[in-house]
Every structure is written in C-alpha cells, then in structure tokens.
Symmetry: D2
Subunit: 163 residues, 4 copies
C-alpha cells in the first residue's frame, strides 16, 4: 500500500509501482477526450496531477465562458491520474463519484485543475481538485471538486480493458 510520510509539514506519498510515472502518463495519453479538448498534464508527482486547458471557443456554454462540463472533465481526470500514481502495477483506476462546486464563471485564457490525493487507500482513494482560471498571469480559484476513485485489480495496462 502506498504510504504517506510527513517531512517538513508536507505529506509525501510513496508510489507502489516503480513505473508509476510512465503508467500515469499513459493513462492520460489514452484519454482521447482529453486530447480532443486540448488538455495536457502540467504537473505529475506522487499523489498530485495538474491538468491544464486553454480557452477555446468550441468548449463554451451559452455565454462566453467555458462549459462547466469541460472544466469538470479536467478536474475529474486530475483526480483519477493523481490517484493512479499510487496504485499497484496490476490495477486500473476509475471514478466512483465526484461532486463539484462552481464558484466563479470559467473566464480566462487558461484553466488548470490541481488534483491532490487526500486519503490513499487499498481500494478507494479520496481526491480533491482545485480549479483555477488564469487571466493576465493571475490565478483565481473558480471551482473545487471532492471525488472518490477506485482501484480495480487485474485491470492493468496491457489488458486494454476498463481501467
């Protein structure tokens, strides 16, 4: 099981899979939806994943802001990939549920969802994602997600089935 150690105040998570980085990046790369909307991984560390997305006018809702669905998609992925950094080699990750509070309109040039593992577990992992809009170089928080992810054993990379 992934352990968490505390050093200088910050919690450090220890991955169970030596090839955790390659595995997590591969999970993201296989998400055609992320590629299609133009999202990318901006940061990846044990227990943490930032997914960034540039404003595009085909990703909007009825006004000029980005659709809440585009925002929650990068938040959900940031949570799943963050959780995946701590899973065993033989497992896959899937979303059990998530809840998202939209705190401000998605207005900006760039958006970033910062997924941070709160509670690692053998089966279930609780993750929180903090979503920001970037405008003229300044960040403002636009939403927050609290999510539950699940590891499924026997659903590793090579099977190509439901992660």
């Amino acid at each position: 099981m992934a352990g968490a150690s505390s050093r200088g105040g910050a919690v450090r998570f220890e991955p169970r899979n030596p090839a955790w980085e390659e595995r997590s990046r591969e999970i993201f790369e296989r998400q055609s939806f992320m590629r299609m909307i133009g999202a990318r991984i901006a940061r990846l560390e044990p227990g943490a994943c930032d997914v960034a997305l540039a404003y595009r006018d085909d990703l909007c809702q009825q006004n000029v802001y980005l659709h809440g669905g585009a925002i929650t998609s990068i938040a959900d992925t940031s949570c799943g990939v963050a959780a995946s950094t701590l899973m065993p080699e033989s497992a896959g990750v899937l979303t059990v549920e998530f809840k998202y509070n939209m705190m401000a309109p998605a207005a900006g040039e760039q958006f970033v969802a910062r997924g941070r593992v709160v509670r690692p577990g053998r089966t279930l992992t609780v993750v929180e994602s903090f979503v920001y809009a970037v405008k003229d170089g300044a960040e403002s928080e636009i939403g927050r997600m609290l999510a539950t992810m699940m590891f499924l054993e026997g659903k590793g990379d090579m099977q190509g089935t439901a992660a």
Copy 2:
C-alpha cells in the same frame, strides 16, 4: 413562481415564461461545447430535458468507454436546461454544484441524460439527471446526478452575458 400541479400522479410544472421553449432551446443552441461533442436535445417539456449523445471515439477515456466528463457534461446541461424551462423571462441559469455517481462504464452506441426538476424555487432549483447507455436498442442506467441550479435575475437572452 412556477407552480407544480398534480394530475393522475405525475407532477406537472407550469412555466413562468410563455416563451419558455424558445428560450430553453436557445440556451442549448448557444452551448458550443454541446455542439462540438455532437449532443442534441431529445426531449423538452416544462421541468424536463433529455440530452442525447452518440458514441464517438474522440470522446473516450483510457479504455474504450466514453469519458466520464463527456457523460457528466450532458447530464449537467440536461439539469440546467430543465431548470431553465421554469425560470422568468428576465433570468439566466447557472450551475451551483452537482454530484455524479458513475454506476457502470459508459459503453454503448448512444447515451441519454434525462434531467428532471425535483424542486423548483425562486432562486435555487434542485434537479436530478438519470443517465442511460443504449446498446442494441436496450437501455441501462449508467449514472445519476443530483444538482443545484441557480437563476440570476437580469441575465436574460438579449444581454448575452453570464446566464
């Protein structure tokens, strides 16, 4: 305020805006994200909106299923548009928050999110969306959303600002 009347067991909602149907369709049509992923309104009645989406291989996650974000996007829109059928002419609708339980992988040829107003209100509306996958003509429930929508006065059609 929109009223609800009961006839033969089913709750009927009464829109406050005589032009409710045109207004709600216009809200959906202005969502470029919905157009981009290929979603469409399959049903629209006071307090109810079904949003349908066909499987497409650029909307997927790391396996062959549709990305949870694509699914929750149509669920969120089904809730917002359903709520919008009951709002005053002068108002706009926005999502306060939503929670989504993924109950089965999004496997199928078509997907439909059925947004149904639970509790109409002057400011806040509670909506639930029931999401189904359609495969070989048979439907199976793949997820459920419980959401809170908000009306903002003075954000009507013509202003073109945040709804």
Copy 3:
C-alpha cells in the same frame, strides 16, 4: 451477488443472505445514535429501508425546525440499512460518502427517510434516500440524498467490529 428482477415495472432485488431481515434489523438496533434520537425502522424490504423520526425539541437548529444533521442521520442510516439487505452474510456495511440537498425546512410532526438501492454491487452500492416531513397527515418532500455504500468482507455480525 444480489440480483435484480423486473416484474410489472418495479425492480425486485434478491438478497444474498437468507437471514437478511434479521441481519439488517440488528444493524439498526445496534446504532445507539438512532435509539437516542428516537428513530425507528418503518419499513424493511430487499433494497429498501424507511427510517422514521418524530419531532422533538432537542433535535433542532437555530429556529424551530429539526437540525439538518438529525435529518441526514436518518437518511444515511436508511441508505446503509437498505444496502445491507443485499449483502453477503459475511460482510458489514459502511458509508463511503453521501450528498444531501435540503429542499425545504424540516418542519412537521414526523419525518421519514426512504432509502432505496439504485445500483447493487459486489463492493459498492449506490442508494438514494427521499426524505419527507409529515404534517396534518400530509407528506411533503424536504430533502434528497445520493449515497455510496461499501461492503467489507469478514466484518459480519459476530465479530463485533467495524461493519
């Protein structure tokens, strides 16, 4: 695994444990918090549990209504006990998470939370609870919960450990 069969429109769940009713009632009876607030099981069937609670003036919030916490406690228990009717003899049940929308103040003489299994599973079960206030014999919906419950193997009755 508990199966679900459809007959005449309603879904019927089949318990895995022949002694399901005794097990589920025992889970409720062992909840000292339920006894302390005066709650009781009003209905128990495979996949369904109603928990009822009478108004009491030591269960209130800053006005005269029942505290949201008292209401969500019976909703949470209705979900857990409903899920428990479908679990194996060897397992225990616990709450993973829940989300509750408060739709109206908890005003009334009686309150009832109707927990209904939405999606039974081997490990996770999705349950919804519909909460009503009863006043002068008439019911009105005051809240709705969407919850995820988990079965833990090896935590059966006799061990007396975390269910």
Copy 4:
C-alpha cells in the same frame, strides 16, 4: 459584501456585521441538537468555525464508532456558523446542500470539525469542513465535507424564524 484580503499568504475575511461574533455564537447556542449531543464551539473567527464533540456511547453506529450522522452534524454546523460570520446583520443562514466523504472510522476520544469558508458570496457561500479524531493527543483526519450555504435576507436574529 464581505471582502477577503491576503496578508502573508493567508486569506483574511472581513465581516460585514460589526456584531458578527455575538450573532454567530447565538446561532450555535440556539441549536438544541448541538447542545443535546454535547458539541461546543472550539474556535470562531471570520470565515472559520471549529465545532468539537466528545465521544459518547449513545452517539454510535452498529460498531463502537461514532455514527456518521453525529459527525456530519458537527461538520454541517461548522460550515453554517463559519459562513454566518460573514453575513449581513439582517440575514440568516441555511444549508443548501453538502457532500461528505468518510475517510476513516470515527474512533477517538474527541472529534473536531473545522469549517473554513472557501468562497464568500452575496447569496451563496462555499465552505469546506475538515474533520479530525483525537486519540491520545494525536489528530487524524477522518472526513471532509464540501458544502454550499445560503444567506436569506430579512431573517435576522430578532424575527426568530427560519435562519
């Protein structure tokens, strides 16, 4: 509207009501449910409220741990009271919805729910509550709540109606 200023990294909220502390403590004191379970305010500052609760064997679930409902009750109250520190004198506060992830069993001698305003607003306030169990002097996080609170104008102290 309550403002937030940043000084040395931490966000400071500025209350709108000069008598905010008295008002918020009064809201808590009027919650008979909090008194009945033995809860108390452990900390109160603009945008922050800690509610503490001692273990008691009539607050439990089917095992020896505190019932999730008792824990979510103090978490909900910590969110509502934290939000109330930033509301106008003329308003009252109520819970719109909350979502709670149970991350570990509620085992300990004491429990504390730390409600922290995330996003203050004119009508809606997003609050997060971090719940800990205290055992042998050491704290461990057992749950997290993400909640939406609402201010209702014209529901101030003296009316004695729904806050």
